[in-house]
Structure formats: C-alpha cells, structure tokens
Homo-oligomer: 237 residues x 2
Amino acid sequence: MSAAFQAIEQRPGYAPYKSAAGFPPRHADADVLAPLHRHAVTVTAERNEEIFAEGTPAKYCYLVVSGCVRTVKLMEDGRRQIGEFLLPGDLFAWEALDTHDFSAEAVTRVTLRRVPRALLEDFADRDRDFGRRLRELTARQLRAARERMMLLARKTASEKIASFLLEMERRVYTDGRGLLDLPMGRTDVADHLGLTIETVCRGLTELRRHGTIAVDRTRIAIRNRHALGSSECSMVH
Amino acid sequence: MSAAFQAIEQRPGYAPYKSAAGFPPRHADADVLAPLHRHAVTVTAERNEEIFAEGTPAKYCYLVVSGCVRTVKLMEDGRRQIGEFLLPGDLFAWEALDTHDFSAEAVTRVTLRRVPRALLEDFADRDRDFGRRLRELTARQLRAARERMMLLARKTASEKIASFLLEMERRVYTDGRGLLDLPMGRTDVADHLGLTIETVCRGLTELRRHGTIAVDRTRIAIRNRHALGSSECSMVH
DNA sequence: CGATAGGTTGACTTCAATCAAACGACGTGG
DNA sequence: CCACGTCGTTTGATTGAAGTCAACCTATCG
C-alpha cells in the first residue's frame, strides 16, 4: 500500500506545508497583506505551541508563511472545537474586535508574518483598494463558515470526512494528482469535524475499503474523486 | 400553565417582532445603514415567502424593520440548514460577493428596507466611518459563526436548545422578565440547531419538567436562567 | 532495544433519528 | 354553532449512527 507514497519525498518540487516559491506565498490572502510587509515581523512557533490565547487582547494579526496553524475554542469541560486550519498564504486574527475569541496553536512548526492590527485598520481607512480586498476576504470567510455549519449540522461522519479530504486536497500543496500529506493528526481532524478520533479512523478505513482513497499515516491518495464528491456541494443553483 | 401568558397581549408596549419605536429600529446594525436610508426602498414579504434564492445574483442587501427572516441552505436530498434568524434591526446579505450563498425566507410577514449592494460598496469606499462600522459588523458575524460551530459540533441536544432560548431572549423583544414569544416554528428551530423537530420538542418538554422553562406554543417563559446558562459559554477567559 | 505517542480495531452503550400515532388549535363550510 | 380537515406539535416505540471503553498495533526516538 505504501508503495504509492515512497517516491513522494524524492520529487523535485516536494516541500510539505511550505510555499512553493518561498516568501511571500502566492495565494489569495497573501496580497491583502502585501502593503503591510514592511511593518511585518517574522515569528515562529514550535509544534503545539500556543500563538495566542482565547480571551486575550488582540494586538496582532498573522499571515502563515509555512506550516499549519489551528484555531481552537474550548468549553470548561474540555470539549474542543477547531474552527479552521490555516495554511501558507492564509491570514488570520485580523477581525476588528478587542479580544481574540479563539486561541491559535501551531500544528506543525510554523513561520508567520505578524502585523499590528491597528495598522491594518489604518490601512483599511486610508487605502480604498485595501479596504475592498479586506471586505472580500471577509465575505469568503463568512461563506466558508456557513458551508461548515451545514457540514457540522447535517452531514454524516463519512460525508464530513470526504468533504474534509477534498478541501485539504484543494488547499494543501499536492502534486495535483490527488496525493496529499495532512499536516494534522487524527485528533485535530476529529475536533474540526465534530467527531471523535475513532470515528475519523473508521471513516478513513471505510473509504479505503471501498477503494476511494489510499491511506498511509499522514499521506492520503485520492483514488476516486467522484465517490468523495458525491456527498459534496450544498448548492441547488 | 398558560395563565402566565394570558396578560401578554394586553400590555401597553407589546408588539411582537416589531421595533418598539417604529422605523428605524434602534439596534446595532441599524445605524450601519443609516447613511443609506434615502436610497432604501421598503419591501414586504408574506409568511414563508422567498426573499431571494441561493445562487442568484446578489443585487441588494436588506435591513429587517419588522418580522423575522430565516437564511436557508439546502442539499440536493432536502437536508436543510437555517444559518440564522434575522430580527428587526438586523442587516443581511451585504457580503461583497456576486451571488447569494443562501436563500432568505420570511418566517413571519416581514417589512424590509432594501438597498442596492453596489451603493453599500460605494459608501464603504468613501466614508471611512462607514467602512469601519461595516468591518466591525463583519467581525461580530464571524464571532457568532464560530460560536455557532461550537454549538453545532459539540453541544448536546438539550444544550443547543438552552443556548437557543437564551439567544432569543436576548434578541427578541421581551418584557425583560424572561417571557418571550418565538416567531419561528419547531421545524425551523430544529433546522437551525441541527436536530429533528421531535428532538426539539422532547428537549423543551424536559426543560419544562425540570421547571426551567414554561411553554405555551410559541410563548416561552424562562424560570431558571442559571439552569439554562450552565451549559452555556465556551470561553475559558 | 524499551518507552511513548499516535493510530487502528473491536465490543458495547447511548443519544438522537426514525417511524408511527395521537393531540390541540385553528379555519372552513355545513 | 358545531363537525371536519389541516397543520403544527407532542409523545411513544424502535432503530441506528456515532460515542465510549478497552485492547492492540506501529512508528519514532531516546
């Protein structure tokens, strides 16, 4: 089974969770921050290190340069919800309220560009084009949030997993032929999809048995995109 | 049981789902639109009438004047998800993308103020203060969306219902003493919380048996706010 | 090596969904 | 004014999908 994956690391372009072209990453969100680059500071965080905590004053916002970040909300009894995974090119924590309503943690070792939020506000005030891009970014975030609500509220475990794999295939750097390397562990996936780790495992196993995907630890090969996608898409145009 | 509710309609200030002071409603979102009032057109929709459909071009955005609106997303097999309920003072469909990613329907007969979205964009470009308020509105929307994801993914049926009642008590016009009149039916509540109608009923019944609330069709009296709120709040400050 | 952390599988339980029936409020027409 | 049908809600019986508990497996690393 793992034969399919053996060659991955040797390929010329292979650089997991890293921007193909170094910095800045070529991605939608990245250019939003472009005018602010001179004021950005590069920071790093180790695997599982907290970047900021829920409820603390929101001084900065961040652009992911390399690695993967998770946004986390907790309930007092320990129930955990991962709002989203942030990948190279993604901007986060730029929302204009005083405190963070979630914490951010490094899934892998990450490099970030950090910008004071106040500066973002200033730019949005002054630069018409910047403000417009920021609003568009917002709109996409809201749209994604609504899509996720549908997923969390109405999709079955298998459908959630299928949707997740397709999303990751779209967002993670891949060879373009359905071979992807997940930066996060099963527990994180579970907490992102509103499932338990066991259910995620079983879901992956079932997809593997049906020949829809191949699994080797963090690496997933999508064999039958149609089977994954059939439970996808909530639009009725 | 319904003795507690009998007097409601006779009270001087009672006007369900209507702004207390007529138009414009006094509410956070309302003043965002204030500069646009002269360009707004008043429109109405009957109970269950569609205001706009998912996937159609997004020409206008709306401010609720009276009544209640639901935002709906559908899957091909009929699974339904209500994103949010919009009440007097709430602004919706203002996101800056070309098509609607959800449909909007009147829960009750509604009155709306309709504004061309392009105008909103123009204003945001020109008026610094307006842009800022728009961004703040965004931030609150995103925050609410994240809170809802936690609810959908991690709360039990009873907790979902409790959270919902508290949210509605906060948002719907009430006498301030825990007496509220829900504009939407049980089916809508279920589709908002990712449950079935039966589970919503059972949840309400259980809360009633525990003396936490009193129920009479659409009217709910909150008897023990602490019992409702104990499963509330996801923050660990 | 042995220890550890993360992942997988199995047995069993539980919470919410499903299927089914009855109830109550409301509006219409006899 | 009352019988009747409809719609929304409530309750009960049963099923089923995902959670829980527990054991085992497999990399990785000191």
